[in-house]
């Protein structure tokens, strides 16, 4: 439990500082600015997945689906009805949250595996609705010509906006974790009966938390749509959800900065991969490696303890075999 303001919000300060240092360095470089915006978008989605899994214990495969919902909400409003993208942002926050709550409420009583499968189902159903949405969603072709955000014309401004959103979400995440609701969610994840004895309505609190993560994913989708100015049925699929969960786990799903690190690490890794087809193999292999060595992820592990315990265990084994 972190009680002082500075201590509590440290993760947000760390990210803000890093961005403050990096921004002048990449301000003129279109290539790196583009990557920066992409990493920011994936960091948002990765935080969404990290919160759902790390805090609520929901291994969700629906993160990209909620982002897609947010992206299409704003795309449809701005392209078909000429509504302001800022109202699109509101829709991108509210719609995923509204969908997430009843869905989660219905399946949150399930043991963890069927719950994950439930999120896969949700993801696949949403993908279908997008693909068969006719002229509303653009069907198989998608929607193009999504307007840019008024006041944010340059790539650099998108970079700043994206990371400002990441910092904001980190602040919300930290605050929520250090509150009664955050504690209740963690208890509900670890031991539903204990949580019930604490007076927590387990189904309600997990579903509510899931809704919050869905809203965050929606914001990522909104940013994606207005940055890419194109949104199609293959833009944010279940495969992307899987990659996002991998990012969160590899970075450390129970930590604040883990998902951000995972997003940065894996997005930048794909820049250096030989072919798009083999991306899955790299991602899968890295995940297995991380799970085998340290399931808590890069930032979630006590590396000192891990390495010294190994060394001590080896020393003991050697002693035993020599004796």
């Amino acid at each position: 439990m972190q009680h002082g303001l500075l201590q509590r919000l440290r993760p947000a300060f760390v990210v803000a500082l890093i961005i403050a240092v990096l921004s002048p360095l990449i301000a003129a470089d279109a290539f790196w600015l583009d990557n920066s915006v992409i990493v920011a978008i994936f960091a948002l989605m990765s935080l969404s997945a990290g919160m759902a899994y790390g805090q609520a214990g929901i291994l969700t495969m629906a993160t990209a689906a909620f982002a897609s919902l947010g992206a299409f909400a704003t795309s449809i409003l701005t392209v078909h009805y000429g509504i302001s993208p800022w109202l699109g942002l509101l829709a991108a926050i509210v719609l995923p949250a509204l969908l997430a709550y009843p869905t989660a409420r219905g399946i949150v009583r399930l043991s963890p595996m069927p719950l994950s499968i439930g999120t896969i189902l949700l993801s696949l159903v949403l993908e279908h609705f997008v693909r068969e949405g006719g002229s509303l969603t653009g069907g198989y072709v998608g929607l193009s010509g999504i307007p840019a955000l008024p006041g944010f014309d340059s790539q650099f401004s998108f970079h700043l906006l994206g990371w400002a959103l990441v910092v904001a979400v980190l602040i919300f995440y930290v605050n929520l974790t250090n509150s009664a609701i955050g504690r209740a969610v963690r208890t509900a994840k670890h031991d539903p009966l204990r949580a019930t004895a604490d007076g927590v309505n387990v189904a309600n609190i997990l579903a509510s938390y899931f809704s919050v993560t869905a809203a965050i994913a929606g914001v990522a989708g909104w940013l994606y749509a207005h940055y890419m100015s194109y949104m199609g049925p293959d833009s944010l699929t279940m495969h992307v959800s899987l990659r996002i969960m991998l990012m969160a786990v590899i970075g450390g799903a129970t930590t604040y900065l883990g998902p951000v690190l995972g997003a940065a690490f894996l997005t930048l890794l794909t820049l250096y991969l030989p072919a798009a087809e083999t991306q899955g193999m790299i991602f899968g292999a890295v995940l297995i490696l991380v799970l085998l060595v340290t399931p808590n992820g890069i930032l979630g592990t006590n590396w000192v303890k891990l390495l010294t315990t190994r060394k001590n265990a080896d020393r003991q084994n050697h002693r035993r075999s020599v004796a």
Binding site: M1, S179, A180, R183, L193, R194, A197, G199, V200, N201
Partner: protein, 252 residues
Amino acid sequence: MSIEIRNVTVQFGGVTALLDATLTLEPGRIISVIGPNGSGKSTMFNAITGMVAPTSGTVIVDGVTADNLSPSQRISLGLARTFQTPRFDPKITVEEAVLCGFYPVRKSGVLSSMLRLPNCATEEKHFLARCHEILSDLDLLALKDMQMGELPMGRVRLVEVARAVANEPRYILLDEPAAGLSLDEQRMLANEIRRLAARGVGVLLVEHNFKLVRDLAEYLMVLKQGACLIEGEPDHVASDPAFIEAYLGRTA
């Protein structure tokens, strides 16, 4: 204003865990339920808190029929309970474990927590202060930053009690809180229970330790195989031959 269970029977498959139990717990009173293992003590607790659905009978909390309320709803009515085998996350600190107990009295919602609005910040500060008070009552304040998994079982049980006390319940159900406690710890527990009763909290105590019960409880119910064997004041029960034979053995 009381907790009443009337003619509660709980059956699992072919086994009758609790038969026709009737009990009233009033604020400020300390009542104890004792009996050998398997006599239905924990079943009674579970029936009161709603974690088990009775086959027949009814539970009334402060005049409200609780039969259709979920466990978390009943806790919100002013109940608190501990578990016979303490349930806790070994990785969290003592301070956080007790802070978890404040959930039913929180007023801030998701939004004000996320934005850390003034009402949430004030509330958290208040919870923290109260948490430290409770911990120091049970002489646990020095341990507040230790992980639960590192504590000896006696201290863990005291933390369980602290967690239950946190939300200022009107009635508290303690399931064998003294098991595994040293004499010092038992004394502290007994003092805390008396303090609770003095504050007007109704205490229902399940215990094996007859001496502790005799000192604390004003009223006693003895269960045997799910049914009430005898009830009354501790001295009266202690001198009853049926009780002595069933519970203490013939040579007691």
